[in-house]
Symmetry: C2
Subunit: 156 residues, 2 copies
């Protein structure tokens, strides 16, 4: 491989592997915990949180899709499943007959209220209990830098 590629330095490679391992393991763990003590997938939880933040616990599918960064199709399937479980309902969108709004039902909201403390505890246990204030600032800075770099690549 005697080409012009700038390979990663040992420090970069180590950090990179650690990041991959940590995020993968972390998301697995959070998903397992959520599943075990609330019967929700991480994706379900994301939908619940976004809906619960919204006025009247309801939001248009397209906006929900943007906020969760789920594809339209993925969201449509996900909401259909949640509706079948009684956690979400669909309503026509006033003022735009193409639209659908998803609403978190009372049962859905109750499910979120039951799930949230455990989930936050998991996030604390695996992440923030292991970090001090400076680490949190570093994490924020690094994550933002990556997001910016990806956004910059999109523009180009």
């Amino acid at each position: 491989m005697a080409d012009g590629t700038r390979w990663l330095t040992p420090e970069e490679l180590g950090a990179w592997r650690s990041l991959l391992d940590a995020t993968q393991l972390l998301l697995d763990r959070l998903g397992d915990d959520l599943e075990a003590d609330a019967g929700l997938s991480h994706a379900d939880y994301e939908v619940f949180v976004r809906l619960s933040d919204a006025e009247g616990h309801r939001m248009r599918m397209s906006e929900l899709s943007d906020r969760t960064s789920f594809s339209r199709s993925r969201l449509s399937h996900a909401v259909r499943r949640l509706e079948a479980r009684g956690f979400v309902s669909r309503e026509p969108c006033p003022g735009d007959r193409r639209g659908t709004v998803a609403r978190l039902t009372d049962a859905g909201y109750a499910q979120l209220v039951a799930a949230a403390p455990g989930h936050v505890a998991s996030v604390r246990r695996y992440v923030f209990d292991a970090l001090d204030q400076g680490d949190v600032a570093d994490l924020q800075r690094i994550a933002s830098a990556i997001l910016d770099a990806i956004a910059a690549a999109d523009d180009a």
Copy 2:
């Protein structure tokens, strides 16, 4: 929600959302790039890298499963698909008739050699070009802290 849960501080919540967004977007992007210019999924690539590191470009399924942290089942399916594409072959394991060793074929190795520079360029573009040396050290420290925290939770 007037309970005893220690919710996340605004700083923690911000860092947490940024981490989730960044990792998700990053992995999506790397996967897309890899798919576009080498026809490989991120999972395929992981298998290729581990095999190429091994003596004779071959490794036992169980060891490969540990190193990639794929489940046995997932690996078995993945290797079957790669074998069908001619990138990997399966051989009986000498000395243990239960075993199978997976070998990266020449075509598989060539595929990896073709894919690697582009993949490393993506990792640079989205991650390390946006970080200085100090950031890399911070990233390493934070990722390791999370890994340790999860390992500690496993022991408990």
